[in-house]
């Protein structure tokens, strides 16, 4: 089975850096995730939004990558948010407690709207 390697586009929406994630978040995704996060951070945004709309698989190594991004964001006093997770991965964010430290929104519009009020 072919691995769908992660690709990430970085854009800005109302002052929020949005990372559009497409593919699988697993061990192969480390370089793409970290490079995209660094690109987003270069603009010194207050908030970074991970958009999972194009993601259909996250494994435990992918969870660790997200933990790593969250640690970087917290150290820099930035908010890291998530949107467009499937119901299953919302559950995973809940049981791992990731959702205690990064707000999870059903869609980008809601996330950007809420983040603008931070």
């Amino acid at each position: 089975m072919d691995v769908r390697h992660l690709s990430v586009e970085v854009r800005t929406e109302d002052g929020i850096a949005v990372l559009d994630l497409v593919g699988e978040i697993n061990g192969f995704a480390e370089e793409a995730m970290n490079a995209a996060y660094a690109e987003a951070e270069a603009g010194d945004p207050k908030t970074i939004l991970l958009n999972f709309e194009g993601v259909d698989y996250i494994n435990s190594t992918g969870i660790a990558l997200i933990v790593g991004l969250l640690a970087k964001a917290r150290a820099a006093h930035r908010s890291l948010l998530a949107c467009n997770l499937s119901e299953h991965y919302v559950e995973i964010f809940n049981i791992t407690r990731l959702s205690d430290f990064m707000s999870v929104f059903p869609d980008e519009q809601t996330a950007v709207g809420e983040a603008s009020e931070f």
């Binding site: 698989y57 435990s60 299953h88």
Partner: protein
């Protein structure tokens, strides 16, 4: 230390629905996951219960490939899917030596990970246990087996 529960013996089991192996190469956990999912779907497991089973199978296969077989492609991870009247069982076997993984391993501490006091990794066993109704672990000198159990019927799944 609590001894891990032994996997059920073949005499306890019902039908074998699938029996296959995957080479220990990164990414092959998805092949294992999709193959088990196809079998589980035929038993009526669907929706969020199916997604939970898929995650558990993927994580257990990853552990077997990495920690049991050292990601040596020539050493396969073997998977069996079995059904009794009440349960679906998935047995995932590697060729690891030494003590099998601890079933009662501590839950990951996210705060410690975020503070850099623990590695960011270490979620696999926790996810497996969270996703299925039972997890049993057994091992001998040359094998470890993780058995995932999902109760069938209305009460099935977590």
């Amino acid at each position: 230390m609590t001894e891990p529960n032994p996997a059920r013996t073949d005499a306890d089991l019902g039908r074998t629905l699938a029996d296959f192996s995957v080479p220990s190469e990164p990414g092959n956990e998805r092949l294992a996951m999709e193959t088990v999912a196809e079998t589980a779907t035929n038993l009526g497991i669907a929706g969020e219960n199916l997604e939970r089973l898929k995650t558990a199978v993927a994580e257990a296969t990853m552990n077997a490939m990495e920690h049991g077989n050292g990601y040596r492609p020539e050493v396969p991870v073997e998977l069996q899917v079995l059904a009794t009247d009440r349960d679906l069982l998935v047995r995932i076997t590697d060729r690891g030596s030494g003590p099998p993984p601890r079933k009662d391993a501590d839950a990951p501490d996210l705060e410690a990970k975020l503070e850099g006091m623990q590695t960011a990794r270490g979620w696999g066993l926790f996810l497996i246990k969270s996703m299925v109704d039972e997890m049993n672990i057994s091992g001998d000198e040359g094998h470890h087996t993780v058995e995932l159990v999902v109760h069938l019927g209305a009460e099935g799944g977590k």
